[in-house]
Every structure is written in C-alpha cells, then in structure tokens.
Symmetry: C2
Subunit: 332 residues, 2 copies
Amino acid sequence: MRVTIKDVAREADVSIKTVSRVLNNERYVGEETRRRVADVVARLNFRPSVAARSLAGRRSFQIALICDNPSPYYVYEMQSGIRDRCEADGVRMIAQPYDRDSPKLLDEIESLVEATHVDGLILTPPVSDHRQVLDLLQRRGVRYVRVSPGSDVDAAPSVFIDNEAAAAAMTRHLLALGHTRIGFIAGHPSYATSAQRLEGYGAALREAGLALDPALVVTGNYDFASGAAQGEALLALPDPPTAIFASSDDMAAGVLAAAHRRGLDLPGELSVAGFDDTALAGYVWPPLTTIRQPTRDMAFAAADLLLGGEGETERREIGYELVVRASTTGAR
Amino acid sequence: MRVTIKDVAREADVSIKTVSRVLNNERYVGEETRRRVADVVARLNFRPSVAARSLAGRRSFQIALICDNPSPYYVYEMQSGIRDRCEADGVRMIAQPYDRDSPKLLDEIESLVEATHVDGLILTPPVSDHRQVLDLLQRRGVRYVRVSPGSDVDAAPSVFIDNEAAAAAMTRHLLALGHTRIGFIAGHPSYATSAQRLEGYGAALREAGLALDPALVVTGNYDFASGAAQGEALLALPDPPTAIFASSDDMAAGVLAAAHRRGLDLPGELSVAGFDDTALAGYVWPPLTTIRQPTRDMAFAAADLLLGGEGETERREIGYELVVRASTTGAR
DNA sequence: TTGTACGCGTTATCAA
DNA sequence: TTGATAACGCGTACAA
C-alpha cells in the first residue's frame, strides 16, 4: 500500500529517526548514511505524510492564501507567485477565497487555522487591513504576511508597491502629453490602495500648479461595470476631461467601453490610463497605458517572508512600471 | 491552546468516541446526547484536526484540483465552483497547478496523492485525457472525475458540454446572418475539445450545403497572441472571410485586435465570435458573441460527482448557451 | 552520530 | 446506544 518512513528505515537499515533526520536536513548524520537513505527514499518514491508531520511536529508544510478580489487575474497571479516560492521548500498552498462582506469571515479563518494547522497566512486587501482578523491571528500566534496594507504598517511583515508615487507618475505622464483636465476614478474605499492612488493623483496636479477639480474625481468599485458607469458620468460632464485615469484596468476597460458607445475616436478624443495586474490591458482596444503592478512578484515576496523571513516586521517594497500603450496620446 | 475532541468529551460528559460519532453523523447516538455534544462543540468552537482525521480515518476531507489552463478566468471559475460544492460537506480544496509539458507531472501527482491523502481528484483538460495519469490513479485506487474528456469516455465519472453541437449552433448563427465565408480558429490539438469544436463547425457547413474551405481553418493556442496572429493570417487572405469564429474568447479578442489594427469597421466589415467562460467577452469592443460554457457549473458538478456520486462512471452533461452580442451582424 | 520511547488528535475495532 | 483501546505515520525529547 502506502510507503512509510518505516519501510525506508528497514530498507536502508537505519532507524526511523535517522530517516527523519535526512528528510528534514538535520545535522549529525553521517555523509554515507545520508546518501544511503536518500537513495532508498528516491527508489521507493517515498513521500512523508503531511498529516502525520503536522500532527507530530511543529510545522505542517502548508500555508494558506486568504484572498477575496474581484479580479480573477489578480487571484491567479497571487496563487502562481506563492506557489513558485513554496515549491522550493516543499510547502503546499491552500487557497481560501472568502467574501469580504460575510459575517462568517472571522469564523472561517479561525476554522481554517484550527483545522489545517497551517504554518502561516498571506492576507490580500481588504483583509490585510481587517483589524479583527489581525487580532485573531496575533492572539493565536499564527504568522501572517500582509499584502498592500494601509494602516498599522509596522505591525507585521508586509509587501507593497508605492501606490502614491505610481499614481503620481501616471498623472505626470498625462500632464506631459498636454492634458489639463484629467478625470480620476478611484477604487473601492475599503481598499487602502484606493486612497493612496488618489493621493498621488492630487500630488502630481499640485506639483504642476493645477487645482484638483472635485467634479473630475469619481469613485468606482474596481470592476468593469463601475468603470463603465463612472466613465460615462465623466464624459457626460458639460466640460468633460480629455483624459481619464482609472485605478484599475477593469475600470479603465469600462471607460473604453463607455467612450466607444459614445462614438468617440480613441485615443484621438480621449486618453485612458489605468493600473493593471492582468493581461486585460493588452486585450482591449486601444491597448491600455497602465501602471503595471507585479502581482506575481509581490506574491512571491510575501511567501518568501512567510517561509524564510525571520525579521518580525520586515516590509518589502516591490517596483512598479509605467507601461505606455496606444490608449494615451497628446491632448486635443 | 488548541481545543481537542478530548475537551469536548470532558465538557459534554461522554466518551471521545461519542463525540466522534456526532461529528461524523453516525447512527446510534441518542438524540439528547447528540444535542448535548453539538452544543459543546459550538460553544467551544471546536474544529476537528484535518491532519488527525486523515491519519486515523479513511477520509481526509480534502480533494485536489489538477489544473493547467492558460486562462486565469477558467481556473478561477473552476476553483469557485468546486469550493461552492465542497463547503456543504466541510471539505477543503487543494489547488494544484501544473505544467502540462513537465516531465515531472506524473511524479507531482503521485506526490500529491501520497502526501496529502486526498479523497479524490478533479482533472481538467488536457490532463483529463492523460493516459498515464489516469492509469496511476486507477492503480492506486484514488477516485477522480474528468472534466471535458475526449477519449475512453466511460472509464470514469466525467462532466462535459456538447462542444460539437455548440460549435454547430454558432456556425448556424453566422450562416443565418448571411455569411458564407466563415474563418475558424481551432484550439490547441492537445485539448480534446479542439477537435470536437472543429467537427461541429464542419457539420454545420455541410448541413448548409457548403464545402469546408481548408484555407479558412487555422490552428491557434487558446490564447490572445495566437488569436491575433491567426486572425491576421485569415484577414490577409486574398479572399478573406466576412466572419471569424474562434474556439475561445481570448483568441476571439485577438481577432478583434488584428481587425482594429487593419482599420476594419467592426462589426460592419467583420463579424467575430468565440467560446467563452470569462467576463472577457464583455470587455472587448465590440462585445463578443460567444458560446458561454458554464465552467462554474461544470466544476460544481464535478465536485458533486466526487463527493456524493456513487455511480462509478456517471457522466454528467452541462448545458451551454449562445449569447449574441454586438460583434456579429449580417454579412456585407 | 545514531537509536528508543512517547505522543500528536482522530477514527476503527471490538466489547459492554 | 455507549465506551476502552489500539492504531495511523511522523517528530520530539532524551538516552546511548
């Protein structure tokens, strides 16, 4: 049936404990013994039982990703990056989607921690700023890493990009093209990144000596539908913007759709820009100019902090990139 | 620290075994005993350890999704559907992405089965047709459900849509609009669905008394880039098609991009259609007419077969839907 | 450097 | 209808 550590021990003519030592790369194993055991392990195709390990030891070799994001691409990239890092350590990832409005959220996370003995959690927005969740984990002594946190930034390890600087860079790009009336679609207020990006937009305007026109700032939901609706609203203004900067690529795609519906010539009559962590930016027409946030890299770094990091509250900043595509051109 | 079954037993003044019985809904438990135990479980917020359960029992309350698909949306929908079904049974899902070309594929799956004691696997294309993987699982007596299998369809439980009929329906839609030169972009040959869809396209043409022009059939890769390249190739023909039907929405979006680049008026000068299991269809411009495959429903059904199904080789067919959007109109 | 004895938290077996 | 006890496969603590 199942190959156990016992079988390996018998076959290699050592004790169970010695096999265990080899598996866990412990010291104090004779070089020749180590080799012999490793050979048998490979030959029998032995895989230690995760269940037995987590029951007996301090580690479970499993981490969990707590993720609720409207964008499948984001989720996918997060999972991929985490798995890439986990593979090196023979750790498995449990993907735990959740509903951010669910009253059972706390309960589900507690249940996950209790049931699976995970070695740690990676929290994405907006849960990375969920006070009660953080408290729960702290109380139970479970390690976690926060992705893009907004407040209490030194409370635990985290990874992030400089959203404010990124939004400012994009705004400057649009200003440099000659646009002076730049519409801005902010993201959902429950995400800390929403405020950070709006801040960067405002800062770049100030820097250029322009006043922020409140009529040009609207709030969406990070998804396509809200981008289309808010884009429509901006375009319907008496004095509409010549450029629109949305806080996500889904919303920017929505703006493109709204512009198409109005029969605008793109990008001739309207420049559109966004943030993106997806391939969507290249799928829509014209291809979107975006701030590319390397979600996969952030995920990798988060897993790295969880698995390797000893620093209790290390913060790791990931670089962003301004990718200019066909959707932005000079102002009329 | 951790609340164990022992604590519950002491608190409810019964034996450990009785608590276990209640947890697993076994028979032969007094009604009043059951209630008392359930109360204590709820009060102490007790969660049985997955590790201990899988070690001691026959079940691990975990299933795995073996998934390699170029489309994040597909992966997301699969995961969501499976989780929806799992929740009802208190089962967890382990997401195991893989590289379909990796020589380690077999090894990784064996490793997963050995290490995690999963109760079953859900296989998506193209692994759902991977002979060696199927043999391995059969040999080890591990249950599995195949999604969209192409061959040996009665070997194990599976879920699917009628791809041939669906492709035929879309082709008929285009024919009804007056198109007679319809380009077709097939999917990657390693997917069984690719051949099925091509078959449906051909059948509908025959039905209409039209010959299949080999010059109008090209092969892509299910992704955006190949759709753009093959779309470009079709449009560059001396006598280009007036409609293009791509086997996925990513490829169809690529066709739209190619058409835009050539300055074609859409959908006036070219109708574009595809298959989709994503929101992408609504993001591009004009919104794509597609066969909507309910990936989430398929996933739910697959999990249902795995968790509930007793029928050894039950096949479950899921319905598709022809969604007409602005990308297809009458031929010139 | 290696081995022995024990326990992790649950289910299975069998007896009461 | 309930309970006692032995596994399950591994890591930990300690001894050799």
